[in-house]
Symmetry: C3
Subunit: 341 residues, 3 copies
C-alpha cells in the first residue's frame, strides 16, 4: 500500500513490506516517546479522536502519539454525546467531522462502521476498533513487539514458534495477529483453547495455505511447551450470550510463574493484548509474573505509542521530516525504561 493519505481499516491491507516500513518508522519514534528529544513536526495539525465506545487505553495512546508529534487532539468519548442518536447516518457524521480535523481515529461498536465512515470522510481514517471485527493498530503493535523481543534474542519473525492461548474464538486481537504473522514464513502456531473456543476455521486454513504449521491443543501445559512466545488472552466475556456462558471459561487456563517454570523453555516471551483480568476467579496471566523479565506486556503498550506515531507520520507524509523538527527535552524525565528482554 501507499500510506500517504490512506485509510487504515484492516490488517488485510498490509503486505509484508508495508509492515516492515511501519516498523522502520516506529523504531525511529523511540527517542521521542522515551523523551530523549521532542519533535514539533505536526505543529498545527489536528487529530479527531472519535471514540463512540468506552476506551481509555487506546484513546489515550492515539492521542499521546499525536501530541508527541506536535499535533493537537480533539475528542469525543461517548455514543450518547453524538448526533447518531438523532438518526444521523454515518455518512453525514463522517462528512461533518472530517471537515474539522486533518486525520481521524474512530472506534465504534458496530462491525463495518469505521469502513462506512471512512467512505464518506474527506480525511484519512484509522480504525481504532469496530466491535469484534478489526483493530489494526493493536495487531501492528503486537507484531512489532514480537519482532523486538525476538530480535533481542538474535531471532527474527520467520521461523517463530508461538502459542496463542485462551478465547481464540472471540479474540479480535488473536485473529488480527494471525493474519499479520501469516505474511512471514515458517511460523509454527499452537492454538490453545477450550474446545468450544477454538479459532475460526478460516484463520487456520489461511495459515496452512500459506505454508505455516498449525497445531490445535486443548491443554495448557501441553500447549506452552517448545514455543518462543506465549500470547495469552482473556475470555471476551462481553461477546457471550450470557454471563453464565462466559463464566464457565473463567479461570480455565491460567499462566503463572510455577507453570511457566515447569513447562516453558527459558526466556519464553509472555505477551497479552491487555487488559488482563486480575480478579481472583479469572487471572489468565498471574500477577506473580510481574518480576519476570520475559513478561513483555508493558513493552507491548509502550510499543503501541511508537506504532501509532509511525502510522500518523506515514499517512500525513512527515516520516522523513520528524528529525528536522527535533528539539531537546528541557524538563525532568522520570520515566524509567521498561526492563529489556
Amino acid at each position: 500500500m501507499i500510506f500517504k493519505g490512506s485509510h487504515i481499516l484492516s490488517t488485510d491491507q498490509f503486505e509484508r513490506a508495508d509492515v516492515e516500513r511501519i516498523f522502520e518508522v516506529a523504531a525511529e519514534m523511540r527517542p521521542y516517546a522515551q523523551r530523549k528529544r521532542i519533535t514539533r513536526v505536526l505543529s498545527g495539525a489536528i487529530l479527531g479522536n472519535m471514540f463512540f465506545e468506552p476506551s481509555t487505553r487506546t484513546r489515550i495512546s492515539f492521542g499521546c502519539a499525536f501530541n508527541l508529534l506536535g499535533g493537537e487532539v480533539r475528542e469525543t468519548t461517548e455514543v450518547k454525546a453524538s448526533s447518531l442518536a438523532k438518526g444521523e447516518s454515518l455518512h453525514d457524521t463522517a462528512r461533518v467531522l472530517s471537515g474539522y480535523s486533518d486525520i481521524i481515529v474512530m472506534r465504534h461498536p458496530e462491525v463495518g462502521s469505521v469502513a462506512e465512515f471512512a467512505e464518506a470522510s474527506r480525511v484519512p481514517v484509522i480504525n481504532g476498533g469496530d466491535g469484534p471485527n478489526e483493530h489494526p493498530s493493536q495487531a501492528l503493535l503486537d507484531l512489532y513487539t514480537v519482532k523486538q523481543e525476538m530480535s533481542a534474542r538474535g531471532r527474527d519473525i520467520d521461523g517463530l514458534r508461538i502459542a496463542l492461548i485462551g478465547d481464540l474464538k472471540n479474540g479480535r486481537a488473536v485473529h488480527s495477529l494471525c493474519k499479520l504473522l501469516g505474511l512471514f514464513s515458517g511460523v509454527q502456531f499452537k492454538l490453545v483453547s477450550p474446545p468450544q473456543l477454538e479459532a475460526p476455521m478460516a484463520i487456520v486454513s489461511e495459515l496452512l495455505g500459506k505454508g505455516h504449521k498449525v497445531e490445535v491443543c486443548h491443554e495448557l501445559e501441553e500447549g506452552i511447551h517448545h514455543v518462543d512466545i506465549l500470547y495469552v488472552t482473556r475470555t471476551q466475556e462481553e461477546r457471550f450470550e450470557s454471563q453464565e456462558e462466559a463464566d464457565q471459561y473463567r479461570g480455565l487456563f491460567r499462566v503463572n510463574q510455577s507453570i511457566y517454570t515447569e513447562h516453558c523453555e527459558p526466556n519464553t516471551v509472555i505477551m497479552h493484548p491487555l487488559p488482563r483480568d486480575s480478579r481472583s476467579a479469572a487471572k489468565e496471566l498471574d500477577d506473580d509474573l510481574n518480576q519476570n523479565p520475559n513478561l513483555a506486556i508493558f513493552r507491548q503498550t509502550d510499543n503501541g505509542v511508537l506504532v501509532r506515531m509511525a502510522l500518523f507520520a506515514l499517512i500525513l507524509d512527515v516520516a522523513e521530516e520528524v528529525h528536522n523538527h527535533a528539539q531537546p527535552v528541557t524538563w525532568y524525565t522520570a520515566k524509567r525504561k521498561p526492563n529489556l528482554p
Copy 2:
C-alpha cells in the same frame, strides 16, 4: 456592537454591520481552515469549552476553530461531571471556571442559563446553545452560507427568496436565521410547515414590520416553488410532550431528488442545520440528494469553523494579527474541497 471582550449570547445583539464584519473575518479564515497555511496567533491562549449537554458536532467545531488559531482547549462534556449537581449556583460556576481560561463557550439545557453564567464570568462567553432559546453561531454560519451560495450565483442576501421547511414552531435554528435575515432588505420568506408547527407569530410580525414578504404555506410542493434556497429542518422531537405527538409529524415533509427536480428552480440551494434524520420513517432530506451540487449542508458545517474562528479572533482582538503568525503547512493535506455551488 464592539466585539473586543464581548459576550456573544443572542442574535439580537447584531446589526447588519456586525454580521458583515464577522463574515469579512470568516472569509479570511478560509486558507487556515482549508490547510493552505497555519497560524499560531492564539498560541498560549486557553478556551474553556463547557458543554453541560451532549453535543459532538458543535463542541468539536468550536474546539477545532480555537486550535486552528493556535490555542489550547480544555473541556467538559457532561452535567453530571459538574458541581452544579452539588447545589452550586451558575454564578459560582462562572466565577470559578472563568478563572481558568481566556474565553468560554458554554452549552446548557436551560433557557437563559448562559446569559446568567456570562453575567458572573470574568472572561467573554459565547453561547453554544441554551436549550430551545439561542445558538447564535449556528445562525451566523447559516447566514454566512446563504451569502456564499448566493454570491456564487452572482446574487446577494438582499432580495433573497427562501423557503423554511419543517418544524418551524420548535426549530431554534430557524428562528435565529429569520432574525438575522431580517437585518437585510427585501427578503421573501415562505414558511412551510404543518398547521400545528407554524413559526411563532412574533417572528412573522417582526419580519413584516421590517418590510419583508412572508408567505405561510402548508404544502411542501407549493412551498418550494420559486425560491433560491430551501432550508429544511428536522422535527425537534425532544421538544414535544410525548413521542406519540412527535411521531405524527415524522416523515410528513420530505425533500428528495425527484421532488426537487419536479418543483424547484434549477440550482436551488438546499440547506439544513443538521443533523438530518436519515431513519426510514423520517428522511426530511433524502440521501438521494447527496450528489446534487446544490446540496450545501456540508458546506454549512465547514463554514461553521470559519465563523467560529472569526468570533474568537474578533473577541480576542487578533483578527488583524492572524496573518502575521502564519506558517506553511508541512504535512500531507488530504482534505478534498467540498463541491462548489
Copy 3:
C-alpha cells in the same frame, strides 16, 4: 522533600520549608495565570489527567495549569470508560498509562487507590483526590490563600486565628488544612460544628501536641468571634449513610452578611473549599456576601491554578526555567482581577 520526580500523595509529605518553597514558586506563576505574559517551558510535555470520578473544577484547574506552562493534556473522565471495569488491577492501569505521559494527576473514589497507582507508575503522580482521604493540592491552595489574605493585612500564618465551620467530621479539606496549618506556630483553631459532626479526635490531638490552641464549639455565633478567618464548609452529604441523616444538618450553620456584620471582627476573611450549596435549604455561605471584599472564595480557586502550576514546575524541575521561556501576550485579556482584600 525533594520535589524533582516526586509523587504528591498526601499532605503528610510536607515540612514547613516544602510548603514555603511551593508558595514561592506559586507567587512567580501569577503573571502567567493573570495573562501578563505566557511561557512555553513545558512545550512538548504531556499531562495524563486521569479522573476516575466526576469532577469539573479540579480537572479543568489542573489541565489549565499545565497548558499555562505550555504542555499538552490528555484526559479521561469516567470510571466506566476504563479497563478497570474488565478486572484490570490498578498496577496494570498505572504501568500502561504511565507509558503515555510525563506526569499524571489522578482522582479515584477509593481511599488509597492513588498511592497504589503511584507505586506502579513510571512517572510522577499527583493525587487529585482519593475519595474521603487526601486531596493535597486543595490543602495547599487553601493554605496559600490564608497566607495571601493575611499578608494583605500585614500578618503571617504564625499566630493565625481561624474558625473551621460545618461538617468537620467528613470534610477532607478541613482535615488537610489542619495538618498544614499545624506546621506553623501558635495557631488558634475554633472548631465549630454540630456535636455529631466534630473533627476527629486524632486531628485535635495532633494540633494540641504541636502547641496550637484548639477550642471546640457548637454555636455558630460564638464560634466566629475573634478570628481572622472563617473557613466554612458544606455538609458532605455523599458521605452519610442516608439522605435523611444528611438532611438534619442541612442549613444548620449559615453564614450571611447580617451574621457577619454582627459577630465578626472587621475584615474577617471568608473562605470555603467550594462548591458551596446555594439551594435554599442549605446556604451555608449566603450569596448576599458576594459583594463583601473579604469573601476570598474565588481568590481561592484562582490560587489553585498557581499552586498547581508550582507543583508541576517543581516536580518536572523547570521552576527556574519558566521565565526563560516567557513571551508577551498578544490577545485581548478581558480577565478582571478579583477584588483585593
